[in-house]
Amino acid sequence: MIRALLPIAFFTILAGFLYVGLYKDPSLVPSPLIGKPIPSFELSVLKDADSSVTEKDFKGQIALINVWATWCVACKQEHAALVHLAEQKNIPIYGLNYKDDRDLAKQWLIDYGDPYVLSAYDPSGRVAIDFGVYGAPETFLIDAEGVIRHKLVGIMTADVWQQQFVPKIEHIQQDL
């Protein structure tokens, strides 16, 4: 009888591990850029082609850098969460508009709202490569010195914000 129960006992333990595993994030492997300052660059501002933006403009306080594009469906999904963050959480969000068309991108911000302090316009994706971007959307958390503290690959949601970003931000603030 005991022998007949062994398979189900084994499976129960395995299922327990699988369940716990579901709430762990396997993609949270340390990115080589974490702990390093953001790469230097110079791009034009999305809404104003004549003025330029560099990495220095992103520094000064704890902030998010969000990589987005109008062709990116997942960006559309996370956009509302970003607008909400910008309004409620008092954290500046900088955009890195990635391989996009300037007019389409401007129209998108009019249509869906603009959570960004400003967006840098990176039509060739050259700067995004320096940031180690796999694809849009990605969100970086940087501290006041412009050092990357956390990176999210995928969609920003209220849960992700609460679980991944809030503890990191508290941690950074304690360090000061």
Binding site: A4, P7, A15, L18, L22, K24, P26, S27, V29, V73
Partner: protein
């Protein structure tokens, strides 16, 4: 309109699956023949409606209907038509739809082909399959609806993942899924037997060909996946011990154990509860594989979209199906009486050892695959287990298995005198051993102990499998002709031999490739040549070309041997227009005894390119071997003894 039709068909299929799950089982328990007979028509109807749903989705892809979210995410107007069709199963939602379609296809096949089954057995089997269908169709509808519309419609799609734009990937997933869900039939037979409490050998006889065919599909599916990885990932490797690969390899190992244990149970009526357990285990591992791939608990080179809600659903489903069937097993299996007795040295023992080795191999892979997850769950630092672990634990388990493979088919049931067996086979053993030492030295002038043992083991498997047939021919009386006596040998016997020879060929490929491969990863100036394994590779020129939905740079590499131009290889580096990630398209000159493989890397300067060149001896034997194994499985499943059952 068409997507809505598809969604509607999916819902109808769900209703039919519910009918198929509930009514026949109820009928079987209350002995109501009318209710039992519902199973057959419900299974056919379910298949029909899922086919309609699948065709609707295919139509949306062909017609570039970008108001469908799934189409927008995985297709593009510039995508060639054949990839637009294969894009249907290019991502999660469509894969699932294909999965349920395959499942319903198997249910339909059982309903049609099993007319000789007793009505109550068929009713229970179809009912179990209906329950599995319910789980997966609900999963599709609730968490992963492929027909979801988006508003406003996109003007252009995001294109199919370029990695998946490869001929191998067009047929790899359907084959793999056919194999995965195919084990649901053996599972349904086993569970039905557990429910009824009647575990006679008739059950095994019905279940056996189905298990065989599922195993064939899984074998082909895995082989295609490996072939794709070899062609498309550009690293010259054919197996990476990646979680997704392991997820398909584990059910294969248990499936292999299952088809052997079914043979024992059919012939000797022993191992009954073990066979039932293996049937459950094989399908459970298929479900586990689905969970691992679809929930994103593990990272993999194949990385698919992950979503905790989907993970929870599959895990719950897994718990119900596996937990339920294992509880049923715990309750019922105690009553099973074991069949005929056998000696310590007998065919039964050898097959038991075969089973133990295969299941232990599966467990080592399971542990290796889930190791990062275990550590993470226990709060320990994350660490993943790579190929060195798998090679270290897997090879020592496979060697005794291949050795047994030579003895098993020639051993007698119940009792074997080892002496007689050794006398028959010692010549083959010695020849295999001698060739194992000589062959690599003769061809490559170099060898190691492991290489010699590996080649000897492979040859031993091939020789003994051929001898198993020859022995039967030699036994014929003088009056029958050779041809006639060959025809008289049962097809299943040929199946066994061909499959075993296939494994031998496969092992030869693996041993030669891993022992004698050579490679160079260097920067080459245009006009310069590189020497590798006696071949000379000249980088002639690099040009820009334009494909239907990508831009590429293509290198022209002249390959020559002894100053004789052999072929021109044209590796490419592609940038697909929409997703913009660079893809390496390797160029391969495939041959029976060696592959020459060139992949283009990054430009170092205007005139200089990073190039990866591989020399891979005998690598095609890996896939030739798997084809032979699959062929063996088909021969076994179509043996006369099973065909008689079909009316």
């Amino acid at each position: 309109m068409i997507p809505e039709l598809g969604q509607f068909a999916l819902i109808v299929a769900l209703c039919l699956a519910i009918a198929q799950a509930v009514l026949p089982l109820w009928g079987a328990q209350t002995n109501n023949i009318n209710m039992m007979s519902v199973g057959r028509s419900a299974a056919s109807g379910q298949f029909l409606f899922l086919l309609v749903a699948f065709l609707c989705l295919t139509y949306s892809f062909i017609a570039n209907d970008f108001s469908v979210l799934y189409v927008t995410n995985n297709s593009n107007t510039l995508l060639p038509i054949y990839y637009r069709i294969s894009a249907v199963w290019g991502a999660h939602e469509g894969s699932l739809l294909l999965w349920v379609l395959c499942l319903a296809g198997w249910g339909f096949a059982v309903a049609v082909r099993s007319r000789s089954l007793p009505e109550d057995v068929l009713a229970r089997v179809l009912s179990i399959m209906g329950m599995i269908s319910i789980g997966f169709i609900l999963f599709t509808l609730l968490t992963s609806n492929p027909f979801e519309r988006m508003f406003p419609a996109a003007s252009e799609g995001r294109d199919l993942n370029p990695l998946l734009q490869d001929p191998g990937l067009v047929i790899h997933p359907p084959m793999l899924y056919m194999g995965y869900v195919g084990f649901s039939v053996a599972f349904a037979f086993a569970t039905a037997a557990l429910i009824s409490g009647k575990l006679d050998s008739a059950w095994v006889k019905w279940s056996r060909p189905w298990a065989n065919i599922a195993w064939v599909f899984l074998t082909i599916g895995i082989a295609l996946g490996s072939w794709w990885a070899y062609q498309e990932l550009g690293w010259g490797g054919w197996w990476f011990w990646d979680p997704v690969e392991n997820a398909s390899f584990m059910p294969w190992l248990v499936g292999t154990a299952l088809i052997h244990s079914l043979a024992v149970t059919e012939k000797r009526a022993t191992f009954k509860s073990w066979t039932v357990l293996l049937s459950i285990l094989a399908f459970s591992l298929c479900l586990l594989g689905t969970f691992l791939v679809r929930s994103g608990v593990l990272v993999s080179v194949h990385s698919f979209a992950s979503d905790p809600a989907r993970g929870i659903y599959i895990l719950t489903f897994l718990a119900v199906v596996v937990g339920g069937s294992l509880s049923l097993y715990a309750w019922r299996s105690v009553q099973f009486t074991s069949g005929g007795r056998f000696d310590v040295v007998s065919k039964e023992t050898m097959l038991l050892l075969n089973n133990v080795l295969l299941v232990v191999s599966m467990l080592t892979i399971l542990i290796g695959t889930l190791y990062p997850l275990f550590l993470d769950a226990l709060g320990l630092p994350k660490l993943s287990v790579g190929p060195p672990y798998f090679s270290a634990v897997f090879v020592p388990l496979m060697l005794p298995l291949v050795f047994l493979m030579g003895l098993g088919p020639l051993a007698k049931w119940r009792r074997v005198t080892l002496k007689a067996l050794f006398n028959q086979l010692k010549a083959y053993f010695l020849i295999a051993l001698a060739l194992g030492v000589i062959l690599p030295l003769a061809i490559y002038g170099d060898t190691t102990i492991m290489t010699a043992i590996g080649i000897a083991a492979a040859l031993w498997a091939i020789f003994t499998a051929a001898y198993a047939i020859m022995r039967l021919v030699a036994k014929r009386d003088q009056s029958t002709s050779l041809f006639k006596s060959l025809c008289k040998i049962p097809r299943a016997m040929y199946g066994m031999s061909v499959a075993h020879i296939g494994l031998g060929v496969f092992v030869l490929g693996v041993v030669f490739t891993s022992s004698f491969s050579d490679q160079k990863e260097i920067a080459v100036k245009i006009g310069d040549s590189v020497q590798l394994a006696g071949y000379s590779f000249l980088l002639d020129r690099v040009a820009s070309i334009k494909g239907p939905n990508y831009q590429a740079v293509r290198a022209y590499v002249d390959v020559s041997e002894d100053d004789q131009l052999l072929t021109e290889l044209t590796p490419e580096k592609r940038i697909y227009n929409v997703q913009r990630n660079p893809m390496t398209e390797a160029s391969i000159d495939a041959g029976l005894f060696r592959d020459l493989y060139v992949a283009l890397g990054e430009p170092v300067s205007d005139q200089e390119w990073g190039v990866r060149i591989y020399y891979r001896p005998f690598i095609q034997w890996i896939w030739i071997g798997t084809i032979l194994m699959a062929l063996g499985g088909i021969l076994g499943a179509t043996d006369k003894r099973y065909r008689l059952n079909v009316k």
